[in-house]
Symmetry: C2
Subunit: 396 residues, 2 copies
């Protein structure tokens, strides 16, 4: 019997218990022995819940039980989750997590600690929910030099951008709708301002480079500045707007990361990714372009990824570890002087001034009272001139 | 040093040599030792080729060389490739292949032989070229019960269908263009009649079920019956036509497979897969829908997948084997009585008769001199009435 404990009985934690229960034959057969949830750590009781009897409030009950060999950490945050993860790894218990914040911040240290204790720290579910991107990068694309990873990594923002386009609606009303549907949290800041995407692209950059990218240092622009006129103008010019996290690697192994709304040609595979779905576009020097698409969040999809890690930990122990990354900050790629194309938005009343400012730019015309130009190649667009309202880079 | 031999110095074989050469630092580091191509088996000489000195004509030189531990079989076919693969596996040499025909026909036997000799038979490159679908199914989606796999698995036919749509062109002229561009072979039968797709969906069904699906028994319809009016009518109704291979698994583990052109809603992720790209749409009972997209063929993309197998064989030997399948034919899923929707095409002159035949069907109207109806749910459409010209099922 493989005894598992779940830390945190929220959306993902409940999903983990459900996947282990409903797919028990598959999970046990793949793990080489019967898998069973012995404890669930939570501050609350869950009277009437089928797993009520497994709830414990004291982490030490779990840490000190030698029968428990694998922990699923689905608490989130970098406080108690960090402390409890360290305690579990120190006891040689593998930890499988969906906690992107903790992985982005302390992943290198926790993988090192796991290795020293003959167990594993695994986090497939921390990026792209149900999309097996980390395993793909580390076990499938092994003959490749990965040169770029670009992803739609946040379902809330992708839902908002998709709905704004479909319904010609504004940002505020669409955010409100997303909140009503449960696709956005009451405090949506981490999603809409791009911080969630920054954590995920940092983890992908860490895996790609073998060194550390601090998500706090990723230049990050969210989608709250996207006006419905931006989406209408983009559509008129053959583009869709998507919030992307991008990690670019140069020949000298330096890496740059960015999070921002980008204009994508409608024929690009990422442009077809709608609603709460996520997708990660990976470019390798031999493979060319590949893309991995699926649910970025949700109880069962994310839980399935956590349980896939449980199976790997059960089957292979510490030998299943990713080629991880060290604490050394990755060498920053110097992007100065690189030229990009941009869409620039103005008030329609300023169209003459806009034409004068951006001579030779391609005119999109007027939509929703706004005037759009596509300009570049340029290294950046000056927004301090009093008439430029928004600038969105074209991904190409 | 890990000594590799390549069987067959064609498109993929040359790619394997190139990937091992150009990405040697990555490939060697991932394999745990320096990887080097020692021999290339081919009937021809390649004077002036950088690998000229490695060419041998006698397979026994390779089979009897104890230094060679891994073979890349990129010959294709089930004749010499089968014989040479068996000889290599019997000597304990792992074989990594792109040969879908051989895998579809003798995969179970060759995996068994590999296991008995402590080596591996690996074939990531045999399905979806550069898309790591087999490793995803067997090492990433391990907590899932896979219920359906539906794939665009042939680049030639997808290129033809995409171009027919973009250019409003007929089948014959587009096939000719594909041949001129090198995207279709001089004898294109295996591609356009769906046999290539049948082999690939059989391998995916084998992996999904653990039992054998004979690709010769897969009901297979190619794209040569697709008229440009079908594509125009489909487009008018909000659909694209794609050649899909589909494997469906029922609750009792019975499996049905089919290869045919299907109508896909334009908003479906598979509908956005254009030109020579491939994509595989996988549905799991917990994950929901995921999709894997990339180049389905091509020298370097396919070679990258072969070399990823080489790395796995070098690193893990026989323990890297897929959970394979046995020789027992999979239980056939009984699809009798299942209702589907269809698009039916008629000559425009028969539109009144068509309406009478399919009362209540949704009219698409007339395009390119043809009249279209969407009908169903029905279990099948009678084409023997003298006026139905083509029937295409709607994928949903």
């Amino acid at each position: 019997m493989i005894h598992v404990a779940v830390f945190g009985y929220g959306t993902v934690g409940k999903g983990v218990a459900e996947v282990i229960d409903r797919n028990n034959d598959i999970v046990s057969s793949a793990s080489g022995d019967k898998v069973s949830v012995k404890y669930i750590l939570d501050l609350l009781d869950f009277p009437g819940d089928p797993n009520e009897a497994k709830i414990v409030h004291d982490v030490n009950v779990i840490i000190s039980d030698p029968e428990v060999s694998i922990i699923c950490e689905t608490m989130g945050g970098t406080g108690a989750a960090y402390k409890f993860t360290k305690a579990a790894l120190e006891q040689g218990k593998s930890v499988c997590t969906s906690n992107k914040e903790l992985v982005a911040k302390h992943g290198a240290e926790l993988m090192k600690l796991a290795k020293a204790n003959g167990c594993a720290y695994l986090f497939e579910a921390s990026v792209g929910g149900g999309i097996p991107i980390l395993r793909t990068l580390t076990t499938a694309l092994t003959a490749e030099r990965i040169t770029q990873i670009a992803g739609i990594l946040n379902g809330t923002t992708n839902f908002i951008l998709t709905k704004m386009e479909e319904e010609g609606a504004g940002f505020d009303e669409t955010l409100k709708k997303a909140q009503e549907l449960g696709y956005a949290e009451a405090d949506p800041t981490a999603d809409i301002e791009g911080h969630d995407t920054a954590r995920k692209i940092s983890i992908l950059a860490d895996i790609m480079s073998g060194h550390f990218t601090d998500s706090d240092n990723v230049p990050t622009t969210g989608i709250s500045g996207i006006d419905k006129s931006d989406i209408a103008l983009a559509s008129k010019a053959g583009f869709k707007i998507r919030l992307l996290g991008i990690a670019d690697r140069a020949d000298d192994d330096s890496v740059s990361t960015v999070v921002a709304p980008f204009m994508l040609s409608k024929s690009h595979p990422l442009a077809g990714v709608c609603d709460v779905f996520n997708a990660i576009f990976v470019t390798g020097n031999m493979l060319g372009e590949t893309m991995y698409y699926g649910k970025g969040a949700g109880s069962l999809a994310t839980a399935s990824a956590v349980v896939a890690d449980v199976i790997d930990a059960a089957r292979k122990g510490s030998s299943t570890m990713y080629p991880g990354w060290d604490d050394v900050p990755v060498k920053a790629r110097n992007a100065a002087g690189e030229k990009h194309r941009y869409m620039v938005r103005f008030d329609a009343g300023n169209s003459d001034k806009a034409r004068a400012l951006f001579e030779g730019a391609e005119e999109i015309g007027v939509c929703e009272g706004k005037f759009g130009l596509i300009t570049g190649p340029a290294d950046r667009i000056d927004t301090g001139n009093g008439i430029v309202e928004n600038v969105i880079e074209i991904y190409e």
